[in-house]
């Protein structure tokens, strides 16, 4: 039976950061702290620490939603070096 039971685990699909083609780069200076990126990141890969956001690149899949939702353009999608 045990092998039919799973427990909460980050990275249940492995390091999904590898899936990225584009990488979200956060520019703290432009951020107005609205946390929309945090709210809308489907991967739950954005953390809020002391009011600032931080992206967990191990798992961020590079979907680009955070960049798009940011009214201040504080997140920019940049091509990963190698594909």
């Amino acid at each position: 039976m045990e092998c039919m039971i799973a427990k909460p685990s980050k990275g249940s699909a492995g390091k999904t950061g590898l899936w990225r083609t584009f990488k979200p780069i956060y520019d703290e200076s432009k951020c107005n702290n609205c946390l929309l990126c945090w709210l809308y990141c489907p991967e739950n890969a954005i953390d809020v620490l002391n009011g600032k956001i931080s992206i967990d690149y191990d798992y961020c899949k590079g979907c680009g939603i955070c960049a798009k939702i940011c009214a201040k353009k504080a997140i920019e999608m940049v091509r990963e070096e190698e594909v």
Binding site: A13, G14, L18, W19, T21, K61, V83
Partner: protein, 177 residues
């Protein structure tokens, strides 16, 4: 040709399965028997995908997965970071031969795809370029490959993919350890 087993490593969305299918048709065009096997399972765009190709002069009977491929095709250098690649021959999408201890063929399939604007959702679609390189290594005529690509795509897309395959067929380089 006795039974030859090939593994293709690609990221979901790169078209590894299609490449295997194209090469199987190419093999048929060359009078051989072939099998193209996709990864058995639920792929998600972005995840690592394994596909297989078998080629033989005789009908292929086995249907189990390929465990010890003679040739491995790697569609992205990044794959080397997450998957162990063990084979006599490796064909890799790369500007340089980045592997040791085996025969390596390399071609810059990404640049070919980007230059021909074969892009989908940000990804260069490297499968036809890689098919070109693989066809060359497998010793298939370009005509057989061209026909296979034209069976797979139609119209302008067929043209572009044939061009990509043609360039890779010609540009693939060998490097031996």
């Amino acid at each position: 040709m006795a039974l030859l087993e090939v593994m293709i490593l690609s990221f979901g969305g790169q078209g590894g399965v299609t490449a295997a299918r194209i090469l199987a048709i190419t093999a048929l065009n060359e009078g051989k028997f072939a099998q193209a096997i996709p990864q058995f399972g639920a792929e998600r765009r972005g995840a690592l995908v394994r596909s297989f190709l078998r080629i033989s002069d005789k009908p292929i009977r086995r249907h189990s997965s390929v465990k010890n491929p003679e040739i491995v095709a790697v569609f992205s250098e990044k794959i080397l970071k997450i998957a162990e690649v063990k084979a006599n021959t490796v064909i890799i999408n790369s500007k340089q031969p980045v592997l040791e201890n085996c025969k390596v063929f390399y071609v810059d399939a990404s640049s070919i795809a980007l230059e021909l604007n074969l892009i989908s959702a940000g990804w260069p679609i490297v499968n036809t370029a890689m098919s070109g390189a693989m066809a060359k290594v497998l010793g298939f005529s370009f005509g057989s490959l061209k026909d296979a690509i034209e069976q797979t795509f139609s119209g302008k897309l067929a043209d572009l993919n044939v061009q990509a395959a043609k360039r890779a067929y010609e540009e693939v380089k060998e490097w031996s350890a």
